[in-house]
Symmetry: C2
Subunit: 348 residues, 2 copies
């Protein structure tokens, strides 16, 4: 209990790259499937109704001998004052003796590990050689979803950008996306990000206003909106499509037509959490999907369960975001920080 | 999200005194009763079965515009290596914008606010002018229970020390108790602790091996052991006694004969939490106490509910420890730290 390492958001941006974030998230899912990582119950609360909420995700990462938690708060009105809407902290403790090891700003960490989740869903569940990605939602997190998917799925060469409420925002993202992507670190050995910038330049980005038409061209979809009603109708989704659902992470949130779940194969990060707060919550409640038929993605990654069975399957990955993603990424950040002496060590 | 204040355990020992801790804890109970403070569900987990566990207590303290959490871990085997068994951290966030404000070492804070809980139970529920206190349990926390009770209840002049397993430990505590008490800060305006030391000297401390006999002499009892079976039998408790039960805070823990609950008036810090993990858990499960008849102590402190009705009542205060105690005390520590510029400010 002598000291703790404090790692700022700037430090995290400096340390964390996309490739290693994706590896950490894949590893977190696998360790959970292997019973070497445990998630604890989610705590969530409205702080100011409709304007601010927070959640606490905690877990034990036996695989790396640590445990801890992340508290993230969302204050929608912060942006009007030029402040970030999302704030939060990750705390890491040593599983050998309970001593605190690190306090890490959770903002960039959360953006990166959430982007990695959508990408890992596509990597393991979409048809091989997927070339087109449709992204529903054009906010801050959409950029990280695209960044991680271009990294994890090298065959993607075209990305459709769709905003269900405001076409203009999709066009603005189309104009700025390459610059935004190029700012995210993507190779720890290539500090100038040169290979990453080359990769970005091979991709075509197009804002679309007809989602039905875009879906007819694609094999891979990511939904990343705060919606509480279906944005994608069942009949728009062609056979063979994979959808990573990232937006729904609280009761009442939903992005897909729930009747879609009658015919799709369902994968999740954690069955318990997804059933309560994820995209599948409505389908579960209405009995359109049976918990017994849901597969945790870690079991696909470690080879114990089958992912996609044919080129006609529609697959859905419902990612609610689990503490183990945070702990796995925090562990990586901490190792680099210790090695390079980044951050501030403070007596406790 | 620019910076956070880190406050070490030494800083907390320097800042926090018994009198203000008791005021904070009383205030936390009252604000909860007034709906100006909210507790969120407890998360608890075994880390190493029987050897290490942890819990996360979180809440919103609207009264002081903050929210946050405390993670506390217990590693029983640490002591064999000369390390503290209890470790933990408190994090405080601003309820106006979600920004982190402070990270505070939770060890001394927890000891102080837990001591205050037992004392507040006696102050509000024991007979007036209680002179004798029986303390069941002689560990580290027993000292804080005694310290806070001597502070909150000025009529106490005699303290019986009882260890249910090991008489020798009670004798050792009898020898060291005055020194231990004198080290705890007890008046922010009296840095030499002189008045506090005078108070300690007026009290007689006696190790006892016959708990039945000690109980026949007393009006106020505190139980503070890790026991999982009843230590006090129903027939030993005379009419008019008040018992503050502090030890039970996890499923399976118990210090009193559960049949006692058929006849006592029951007070708790939080009905939901006490029913699950507190002293009343067994009595609740066996239907010996009805939830509707349980009173939260905050309602007694703010005058909305009656406490003791007669000098013959047996009253029990079941304190499981709630996040609001931590947040109220953390808020006080933070105010003093900001005023006197104590702690380390680190960029986030």
């Amino acid at each position: 209990m002598n000291s703790i390492r404090i790692i700022s958001d700037d430090d995290v941006e400096h340390i964390l790259d996309l490739k290693n974030t994706i590896l950490c998230v894949e590893n977190a899912y696998q360790q959970k499937a292997n019973n070497k990582a445990t998630i604890l119950p989610l705590v969530s609360a409205d702080l100011v109704e409709g304007k601010a909420d927070m959640d606490i995700k905690s877990g034990i990462y036996q695989a790396e001998n640590l445990f801890g938690l992340k508290l993230v708060a969302w204050f929608g009105e912060n942006e009007m004052q030029g402040l970030p809407a999302l704030t939060g902290m990750t705390m890491v403790f040593d599983l050998k003796n309970g001593f605190p090891r690190a306090l890490i700003n959770a903002r960039h960490l959360t953006a990166m590990r959430t982007g990695a989740a959508g990408a890992v869903g596509i990597k393991y569940l979409a048809k091989k050689n997927a070339e087109v990605l449709v992204v529903v939602g054009t906010g801050h997190q959409a950029v990280f979803q695209i960044a991680a998917t271009l990294t994890a799925v090298p065959t993607i060469r075209k990305v459709y950008l769709y905003n269900p409420r405001n076409e203009e925002k999709a066009k603005l993202l189309q104009e700025s996306i390459r610059t935004k992507l190029s700012r995210i670190r993507n190779d720890i050995y290539d500090l100038k990000n040169e290979k990453w910038i080359q990769r970005i330049e091979t991709v075509e980005f197009s804002a679309v206003n007809n989602i039905e038409s875009a879906l007819s061209e694609t094999d891979a979809v990511i939904t990343i909106t705060p919606s509480s009603q279906a944005l994608i109708r069942k009949e728009w989704v062609k056979p063979g499509t994979h959808i990573s659902c990232i937006g729904a992470d609280l009761p009442g949130k939903q992005e897909l037509d729930e009747t879609l779940f009658k015919t799709v194969r369902v994968f999740v990060d954690d069955v318990g959490q997804a059933s309560k707060v994820g995209e599948i919550q409505t389908a579960i409640r209405l009995g359109m999907v049976q918990k017994e038929l849901i597969t945790e993605i870690g079991n696909v990654i470690n080879g114990n369960e089958k992912g996609r069975l044919s080129n006609k399957d529609i697959t859905v990955f419902d990612s609610t975001g689990i503490a183990l993603q945070d702990l796995a990424v925090a562990d990586y950040i901490l190792k680099i920080a210790e090695e390079k002496n980044i951050g501030t060590i403070v007596n406790l």
